[in-house]
């Protein structure tokens, strides 16, 4: 497992410190209450781009493949500049044929290359899911360790804004149920950098679930996180906000909602601890349970469908391991149990909102409205 490595001089192997820093703005006044004045900020988009850039620079076996990743600069501009920098032998524009190019990517990984395969959204990964599961996830096991698959499948996951039923599904629960896969979900720019770099370096297949609506969001970023050696451990959650009355677990865009909910709850005297899962598989059951044993109450949040979801697994874990610590039933806030409607008012009802998280936390604390 990669720990957060100590600071080192940045190696000038391709991405220069100055070009990375040019993507980072200094903020004199940050919108976030916990960022110190004068700290640097970075968008999630730039964080992902810089992570791929640095890993490509460090390891010639790393290459990028997907629709519009090269000449178009990436459908969401995550791979911007990479074709110009590394050339067509490291950045491949594919036809619109997920089953084919994903299989090709997995085959390349069998032979020791390190593909970073982009799905324009994870909805399209369903065309290739056989290769992700049967060809990638299970190979190391079936071959008794002979064939490992150092591949990363990345792209936007979950709902965007008004993209309808076939373009809004969250695949975290599906992929995280498969032994042999690692499944990561960044929230902040630091998560994006550290987790993607870890994923690319990892010798196992990693499903990397980004979020389209987070791409443009800026987050403060530390000097440490800007270092090209920066890596976050896979399988460790992060406590974004400490609290003592109720634990809220979630991942990706919902972390932002949970933090807003925590602020609202604080106004009413409820101290919420917000856990950013970062890693859906392996799931950091230890951190979650330690938190619940501290607070005795759990609200678990996700954007995807509720039945058999990530929240259901967390609930099961807590009931199994920390039952006697619970003072209230576990609360689940998830996407509505319906295909995503297009109309704006229905879409809003189909997705968790901050007030849903606040309401559930209050219920767990036996507070009525």
């Amino acid at each position: 497992m990669w720990g957060i490595l100590g600071r080192r001089a940045v190696v000038n192997g391709g991405i220069s410190a100055s070009s990375l820093r040019s993507r980072v703005r200094s903020s004199s006044v940050s919108a976030r209450s916990y960022a110190a004045a004068g700290s640097k900020e970075m968008t999630v988009r730039d964080a992902l781009n810089s992570a791929i850039d640095e890993e490509m620079s460090a390891d010639p076996k790393v290459f990028v493949m997907g629709e519009e990743v090269g000449q178009y600069q990436g459908a969401y501009k995550i791979t911007k500049g990479l074709l110009e920098k590394y050339g067509p032998e490291r950045v491949y524009d594919t036809p619109i044929t997920e089953a084919g190019f994903t299989g090709i990517g997995v085959g390349a990984a069998y032979a020791g290359l390190k593909p970073v395969v982009e799905f324009m959204t994870f909805n399209f990964s369903m065309q290739a899911i056989d290769h992700i599961i049967n060809s990638a996830a299970k190979s190391n096991y079936m071959s008794a360790g002979q064939i490992n698959v150092p591949i990363v499948f990345r792209g936007p996951n979950g709902a965007a804004a008004g993209v309808g039923a076939q373009h809004s599904q969250c695949y975290a629960a599906w992929y995280a149920s498969v032994p042999g896969l690692k499944v990561l979900a960044p929230y902040s720019a630091e998560d994006a950098r550290g987790l993607l770099k870890a994923a690319i370096r990892d010798p196992d297949p990693v499903v990397f679930l980004e979020n389209e609506l987070l791409y443009g969001e800026s987050f403060p970023i530390s000097e440490e996180a800007l270092d090209s050696s920066f890596c976050l451990p896979i399988g460790k959650a992060k406590i974004e906000r400490e609290g003592k009355d109720v634990t809220i677990t979630t991942f990706s865009k919902m972390v932002g909602f949970a933090l807003k909910a925590a602020e609202k709850l604080a106004e009413e005297g409820i101290s919420a601890e917000v856990i950013n899962l970062r890693s859906i598989r392996p799931l950091d059951r230890a951190t979650i349970n330690a938190s619940v044993r501290k607070t005795s109450r759990l609200v678990t949040v996700e954007e995807g469908f509720p039945q058999h979801g990530v929240c259901a697994e967390i609930c099961a874990s807590v009931v199994e391991e920390s039952f006697s610590y619970l003072d209230a039933p576990v609360e689940r806030i998830a996407g509505a149990d319906v295909p995503m409607p297009y109309a704006a008012n229905l879409e809003r009802l189909a997705l968790p909102q901050v007030e849903d998280i606040v309401r559930a936390a209050k219920r767990a604390c036996f507070r009525s409205k």
């Binding site: 178009y72 373009h167 806030i333 149990d337 109309a343 229905l346």
Partner: protein, 395 residues
């Protein structure tokens, strides 16, 4: 029909077999219902694969050509209005526009019935209109209103009109192809003498599922017509970068194919008529429609990073489907310039009225969140985001 340049030089080739041009102006007033047969020659010959191409002489009538003009003008205005509405944020999410490709929608409808089935991709607004869909239903759907053809729940990519055998409106590239072959399967199974047109783009043409479905369609002689709308770009990727062989009409290999000037409504009509006859007798056939989209892939794509503005304006000047029909109408004295301009004004008003009406339509009721999950709900429970706050038993 001959290109505009030819018509300027000589009217000889464009004389219809009747002498409509010599008719006095008083008779021209009734031209919109004049179904006297006219024969027009297509400008571009058909290219064929494993079959004999149909004749370039297309049987039509004044009424039909006028209807092409009006219908395409309506489709064009609808898409331009949608562009505006998207920029005003009244349309959200994805919006894939069809302007430039209208000839395909109208030409196909002229060759078939409303019991032949059509299924297409997400670039479906004009196909919906062609199947008899109403403008106000289209705009309402785009703006997420109750009056929408999918009650506001589908959005731009998911228009349907089952009563006209239009099966959508699909967001996943290529998925509609096996689905279309399935519709054809059902038609054959029920011994109906109808066919299915499955529309897909040059991007989708490389999908494995196309070849799987086509193989089965050929084995089982399904009345499936695969129509490749080759607008030369799959999002930002030109055909030469995505297909080893961009001769899409030949990609069916053992399945016959025809390449068609997709900007010529009459050529499209001829090809679809030919294809329907073929499919009913001999099973699947591939039609490649050479067409062009003026807009980018979607409203999020400017469409100018992978093609030059000169290319786009060049096509508009030389191949625009509406302009070609206008020139045909003028050169055959079927209508005057003023009559056509008036028709365009009427269409514009039609579209503006429909937009205004759609804007008045309310958003769907919150209870619509849970409707149409199943046909037979059998007491299934469904939940809102907060399952303790919003729980519904589907009935």
């Amino acid at each position: 029909m001959a290109l505009s340049r030819l018509s300027l030089r000589s009217n000889r080739f464009l004389r219809p077999s009747t002498t409509a041009a010599a008719l006095p102006s008083s008779i021209r007033r009734h031209v919109s219902t004049d179904t006297t047969p006219i024969t027009i020659e297509t400008a571009v010959p058909f290219e064929s694969h494993l079959c004999d191409a149909p004749s370039r002489s297309v049987e039509t009538s004044s009424a039909e050509i006028l209807s092409f003009f009006r219908d395409m003008a309506r489709m064009r205005r609808m898409e331009i209005a949608a562009d505006s509405l998207y920029k005003s944020k009244l349309i959200r999410g994805f919006c894939h526009l069809y302007d430039g490709q209208e000839a395909l929608a109208v030409g196909m409808e002229a060759a078939i019935t409303r019991k032949d089935a059509i299924i297409t991709s997400y670039r479906d607004h004009c196909t919906f209109l062609g199947r008899g869909g109403e403008l106000v239903d289209a705009f309402s759907e785009l703006m997420g209103r109750k009056r929408g053809c999918s009650n506001g729940k589908g959005g731009s990519m998911h228009f349907y009109k089952k009563d006209a055998c239009f099966y959508g409106g699909h967001g996943i590239v290529g998925a509609q192809i096996p689905l279309g072959c399935g519709l054809a399967f059902a038609q054959k199974y029920s011994k109906e003498e109808f066919v299915t047109f499955t529309l897909y783009g040059d991007g989708a043409a490389n999908q494995g599922q196309l070849f799987e479905a086509l193989n089965i369609a050929a084995l089982w002689d399904l009345p499936a017509i695969l129509v490749c709308e080759n607008n030369h770009y799959g999002m930002g990727t030109a055909t030469w970068r995505s297909a080893k062989s961009p001769a899409y009409f030949k990609r069916g290999d053992y399945v016959p194919g025809l390449k068609v000037d997709g900007m010529d409504a009459l050529a499209v009509k001829q090809a679809c008529k030919f294809a329907k006859e073929h499919a009913l007798k001999n099973g699947p056939i591939v039609l490649e429609m050479d067409t062009y989209r003026y807009h980018g892939h979607s409203m999020s794509d400017p469409g100018s990073t992978y093609r030059t503005r000169d290319e786009v304006s060049g096509v508009r000047q030389v191949r625009d489907p509406i302009e070609r029909v206008r020139k045909l109408l003028l050169s055959h004295d079927i209508a005057t310039e003023k009559e056509l301009k008036d028709m365009e004004k009427e269409v514009r008003k039609e579209v503006d009225d429909a937009v205004a009406q759609a804007k008045e339509s309310p958003v769907p009721e919150p209870s619509e969140l849970f409707t149409n999950m199943y046909v037979k709900d059998c007491g299934v429970e469904s939940f809102g985001a907060d399952r303790k706050e919003l729980k519904v038993t589907l009935t």
